[in-house]
């Protein structure tokens, strides 16, 4: 041992003695060594536990990840139950309904109307056979009870198949709503103002109007879309009431078919412009003397900006035939304007002016006072985006003096 090294050892020993001198009397070096051993063991144990905890956390992360992945996989497409069965994943069920209360005073020979009526209860069923073939149907119960002598009826309004030809064009076959007007295809209660559907589309177009046939629909680009169908026609009776001519595809007379086409533009946010035209080979199906072919033109515009929306619609029939001309019903037309304001997510108000005439071709005889006018003003309250409560007041001003004025209240839903 060198002198230098001896000096260092001596110095270290002296410092150690000084540092432990207060305990020197209580703890021997042997006891200190034992305590250090215990501390080392404790440290080793903690390290082992720490390692085990890390492994457990890692496993928990893996488990959580697997659980999340499984849950997301189960619920990802539609919902868990649907995913359990493949057919259920491709099948959709929906519906809508509306309950109406009418409190109308009749004058000029028109009847009072104090009634509460579950006007429509509708169920949708759809099924996707594959990515390109779909089925859709709509089954409706009107006025709650159907049957012999009852007010209501059960109607199959739609049952058709769509075949996608490519991403832009689809062929349709079956029974479907005709592409005419604003509410004929989209008439779930939360989507429109007013308890009752507007009288122009009801009496002129006539909504709700469906037929059996086939055709194409799709998009042409730049915001333009089209529909073109050949389908069963109307069978207007000798009263020449267009609405009474709906055959509802119930053993419908198909002596003379009809064709409908629509061009629609929705290339600007908030704007819809549409033009529909229809040709009926023989609107009486050859069964009414003096009633021949007919043409329908319908056009409408919808403009929404901020809380404001304006809807405008015009529809007109031009019917050929000696008898229908003599009655004045060869021209049937009407229009309405409907401005509305959405106060909030829950509330909206509207007013609507309707004018229509089912005998606009003449001003004599029964056609002399055939023009009708109706003002509607009301409010919609949506407690949920798919549930609506409506209240509106209607005021009629008809040339024949027969008018029904008063309050309508409605409750509607869709899902």
């Amino acid at each position: 041992m060198s002198l230098k090294k001896l000096k260092k050892t001596t110095l270290f020993t002296a410092l150690l003695c000084l540092s432990i001198s207060p305990y020197a009397s209580a703890l021997s070096l042997e006891e200190l060594a034992k305590r250090l051993d215990k501390l080392e063991q404790k440290n080793q144990q903690l390290q082992t536990e720490n390692q085990e905890l890390r492994q457990l956390i890692s496993k928990s992360d893996d488990k959580a990840e697997a659980a999340v992945a499984a849950t997301e996989s189960l619920t990802g497409n539609s919902n868990g139950l649907k995913k359990l069965a493949n057919w259920a994943d491709k099948t959709t069920i929906g519906g809508y309904g509306e309950l109406h209360y009418n409190n109308l005073d009749g004058k000029g020979g028109a009847s009072d109307q104090d009634a509460i009526d579950f006007h429509r209860f509708v169920l949708f069923f759809g099924h996707e056979f594959n990515d390109n073939i779909r089925f859709f149907s709509e089954l409706e119960l009107e006025h709650s009870i159907a049957g012999e002598g009852k007010n209501g009826e059960i109607e199959l309004e739609q049952a058709f198949l769509d075949f996608d030809l490519n991403g832009n064009h689809t062929a349709r076959a079956g029974m479907f709503l005709l592409p005419v007007g604003i509410i004929n295809e989209t008439h779930e209660p939360p989507t429109f103002y007013g308890t009752e559907r507007n009288p122009v589309e009801k009496n002129i177009i006539p909504a709700t109007w469906w037929a059996a046939g086939t055709g194409l629909h799709g998009q042409l680009g730049k915001g333009f879309s089209y529909d073109a169908y050949i389908h069963s026609g109307l069978a207007v009776p000798d009263s020449f009431s267009i609405r009474s001519g709906r055959q509802k595809v119930s053993k419908a007379k198909a002596n003379d078919l009809a064709a409908t086409a629509r061009l629609k533009y929705t290339g600007i946010a908030g704007l819809e412009l549409a033009l529909s035209t229809q040709y009926q080979q023989d609107i009486g199906q050859g069964l009414v003397a003096g009633l021949k072919s007919a043409n329908l033109i319908e056009t409408h515009a919808i403009w929404s900006t901020g809380p404001f929306t304006l809807k405008a619609l015009y529809a007109a029939w031009d019917i050929d035939g000696t008898a229908v001309k003599a009655s004045g019903a060869d021209k049937q037309r009407g229009f309405y304007l409907e401005p509305s304001f959405r106060i909030s997510e829950q509330f909206g108000v509207f007013t609507r002016f309707n004018q229509w005439d089912n005998k606009a071709g003449s001003n004599s005889g029964s056609a002399a006072d055939s023009e009708k006018q109706q003002w509607d003003i009301g409010i919609n309250y949506w407690p949920h985006e798919d549930v609506v409560i409506k209240a509106d007041y209607q005021y009629q001003n008809n040339d024949d003096g027969k008018e029904q004025n008063g309050l309508n209240i409605g409750l509607g839903y869709q899902f």
Partner: protein, 166 residues
């Protein structure tokens, strides 16, 4: 006759645009954030967040976490919501609590396809949410595509809300 056949061919043999995948998630993230799809973070939907999202969707969310991607001051979110019957997948890029880009990535519905167009999605640019989690600017709808429009507005609100929750 040849002309008629040519016109029919041109109409029906167009590339598919209405239904399908317009842009993959990977491409959307690369174009907007220059990040890979795998480099995501997650935000868990706890009780409070679930309540807010339920209020926005008007039904409980189907997810218990949401993945997102971030690069600098931007975040990107890819979310799904049902329009009428099928899920619509939408990518949203947010910077400083305002939407920079909103794009429909996959559209599976047979109606309401108009929401894919830029004339509609451009309206979401610079839109944020207020304290009630409502969009702070009006979005004009598309007639006939009401449910698809509604789905996109909900997705925008959820993305903006979760961006604030990071």
């Amino acid at each position: 006759m040849r002309k008629i056949l040519l016109i029919i061919s041109l109409v029906f043999l167009q590339p598919t645009f209405a239904k399908g995948v317009y842009q993959t998630a990977e491409s959307f993230l690369q174009n907007n954030l220059k990040v890979n799809q795998s480099s995501n973070s997650s935000i868990w939907i706890n009780k409070k967040r679930k309540q807010v999202i339920t209020d926005i969707l008007q039904h409980p969310p189907r997810f218990i976490r949401v993945k997102y991607w971030h690069q600098g001051s931007k975040t990107a979110w890819i979310l799904d919501e049902v329009g009428k019957e099928k899920l619509i997948t939408v990518g949203v890029v947010i910077e400083n609590s305002k939407i920079e880009t909103l794009k429909v990535l996959t559209f599976r519905e047979s109606r309401g396809w108009e929401v894919k167009h830029k004339f509609f999605t451009h309206q979401f640019s610079k839109v944020g949410i207020n304290s009630q989690h409502q969009l702070d600017q009006n979005i004009d709808g598309i007639s006939g595509a009401t449910l698809s429009v509604r789905a996109l507005k909900k997705i925008a609100r959820i993305a903006l809300y979760l961006d604030k929750q990071r």
